[in-house]
């Protein structure tokens, strides 16, 4: 595991000049931003702008490949780690398509999140916050509804000692009533002070939750500011978010 380095930035989380690629095309180009501890940042942009790729690069997925740049979390050099090492350092990604492990139960999905140290919430605590998951704990996980799967994906992240939560399209494909429930849970996550990056097509929903916003276009950052600034700037939203 990588130790803290002398050149680690003072900010809790920091990306410096990230460049990542799929095949021969660069999907993340020179992305740099900082997040103080406990803040929520909305990473916004059109489809294909490079939002998910940025999250995956931070989570140290093997794709997109990171060609250059540095990623620091609490003094730890994530850019020198593999995905499982980044996860053990506190990075947790809730993927766009939830990535619930099929063929095993709801509870086994949670147990899998606690195989490697350090772990976060106990199963009892998870079930007290997500009673629906307790009701369905013995059920095959892929048979859950979309909303329940989203709950499980979030619970799975909280089952680990999460320091940086990466949320990729948490509201995607969910009915409005379910979106409200997920919103309530994310507000609870916010109250816990977990540093979070949220990627969401529903920019307004993400901005309501976030402290700051970053807009990305063709893999490059085109705007950095407060969430309120984006909410109030319709021209900006129309230019880059088309919402």
């Amino acid at each position: 595991m990588n130790e803290s380095k002398v050149d680690a930035p003072q900010t809790f989380f920091s990306c410096r000049e990230l460049n990542a690629f799929y095949g021969e095309s660069y999907v993340v180009q020179g992305v740099s931003f900082d997040i103080p501890e406990g803040e929520i940042v909305a990473l916004l942009g059109r489809n294909g702008a490079g939002k998910t790729s940025t999250l995956r690069a931070i989570a140290r997925a093997s794709e997109p490949g990171l060609t250059s740049g540095e990623i620091w979390l609490n003094g730890q050099a994530l850019h020198e780690m593999k995905a499982f090492e980044a996860a053990r350092s506190g990075v947790q990604i809730v993927c766009e398509d939830r990535r619930i492990i099929p063929g095993v139960t709801v509870e086994e999905n949670l147990i899998l999140a606690q195989i490697a140290e350090p772990i976060g919430w106990t199963l009892e605590k998870i079930y007290s916050h997500f009673p629906k998951l307790e009701e369905r704990r013995k059920q095959e996980a892929s048979s859950l509804s979309g909303g329940e799967q989203q709950m499980l994906a979030l619970a799975r992240a909280l089952a680990r000692d999460v320091k940086l939560l990466l949320l990729d399209e948490p509201y995607e494909g969910l009915a409005p009533v379910i979106v409200q429930e997920i919103e309530r849970m994310l507000r609870e996550v916010k109250s816990m002070g977990i540093t979070t990056i949220i990627v969401e097509q529903n920019a307004v929903a993400a901005l309501k939750l976030a402290d700051h916003a970053i807009i990305i276009d063709s893999g490059e950052i085109v705007f950095t500011g407060t969430a309120q600034e984006v909410l109030e700037n319709q021209a900006l939203r129309e230019e880059y978010l088309a919402v």
């Binding site: 989570a59 997925a61 093997s62 593999k82 995905a83 499982f84 996860a87 053990r88 947790q92 990604i93 993927c95 990535r99 492990i101 099929p102 063929g103 095993v104 086994e108 147990i111 899998l112 999140a113 195989i115 490697a116 140290e117 799975r156 680990r160």
Partner: protein, 299 residues
């Protein structure tokens, strides 16, 4: 087809015994494919190494030591093979994996031929496994004097115990849970902090170890000659395909099916030589992902 009850029982047992060898080899093959996504054509060569090791140790030091030593040695060989060669091909196309493992199989086969010669080496069955079982003593419906080689029945029992142990490992332990989950979504496991590649390396070793067990008990039945590995690889690979790539249950089912088909068609030479391919074609036409193949695997 006019078949007496005696002939039917003997064909059934022979089918089970043939299927047992196939299952042991196909189990390792499908376990490795299901976890690592690698089509390991060198798996037959692992069986070949196992039978040569087993016959050498058996003839020099006795069967007990062969049984104790060969499976762990194969486990280590499997780990070394995975670390030294196979892991470099994880992200390469299946055709590259097939070419390199097939090439390795030929190299190993020729190496063993160079060391031990091309002729069959007699594999002495230990005294406790020698002889015949009087089937008519146990199965009253049989008429007259019906016997079956004891060792072949032992092979069936070993296969059943091995399959049961693998299923218990996968379904009753945390290690098994991680492996089953990793077979479905290895990347997500890494996102949860699990060093899945290290566990998959162990699975590769386990696959090789099962080939080791197969070699110790199968050697006296399949003979010990350099061509045996390739002779068993083709049906074993087809069994993996028929069962569904990566499906352990499918490999067991298809192994027994092919063993039975070969046994029951033994008197009809023209059908017997093509039966395995005929079954493969029919099953893949009706069910392209194999008998118990999971959706999205190798599609």
């Amino acid at each position: 087809m006019d078949m007496t009850l005696n002939a039917f029982t003997l064909s059934l047992l022979t089918g089970l015994q043939l299927g047992s060898i196939y299952v042991l080899i196909a189990l390792g093959l499908t376990l490795i494919f299901g976890t690592l996504g690698v089509v390991n054509f060198a798996h037959g060569a692992l069986y070949l190494i196992a039978i040569y090791l087993a016959v050498s140790i058996n003839n020099a030091l006795g069967f007990g030591l062969a049984l104790i030593l060969v499976p762990p040695i194969l486990f280590v060989i499997g780990i070394l093979l995975e670390r030294g060669l196979i892991q470099r091909f994880y992200n390469r196309p299946h055709t590259d994996q097939i070419l390199v493992t097939f090439g390795l199989a030929i190299v190993l086969q020729e190496l063993l031929k160079w060391i031990f010669g091309a002729n069959n080496i007699p594999f002495a069955i230990p005294s406790w496994g020698n002889g015949i079982i009087m089937l008519h003593d146990y199965l009253p419906f049989l008429e007259g004097f019906v016997v079956y080689p004891k060792w072949r029945l032992i092979l069936v029992v070993v296969s059943i115990v091995t399959v049961a142990a693998v299923f218990a490992l996968l379904h009753l332990t945390r290690f098994g849970l991680v492996i089953r989950a990793g077979m479905r979504d290895a990347e997500m496991l890494q996102f949860m902090g699990v060093n899945i590649n290290r566990r998959f390396m162990i699975v590769f070793g386990l696959g090789a170890m099962i080939a080791g067990i197969a070699g110790v008990f199968g050697g006296p039945v399949t003979q010990v000659s350099p061509e045996v590995g390739m002779q068993l690889l083709v049906p074993s690979f087809l069994i993996v395909v028929i069962g569904g790539m990566g499906s352990l249950g499918g490999a067991v089912l298809a192994g027994i099916l092919i063993g039975m088909a070969q046994s029951f068609t033994a008197p009809y030479i023209y059908i017997n030589t093509i039966i395995i391919y005929l079954i493969t074609v029919i099953i893949l036409l009706v069910r392209p992902r194999g008998l118990l193949g999971a959706k999205g695997v190798f599609e």
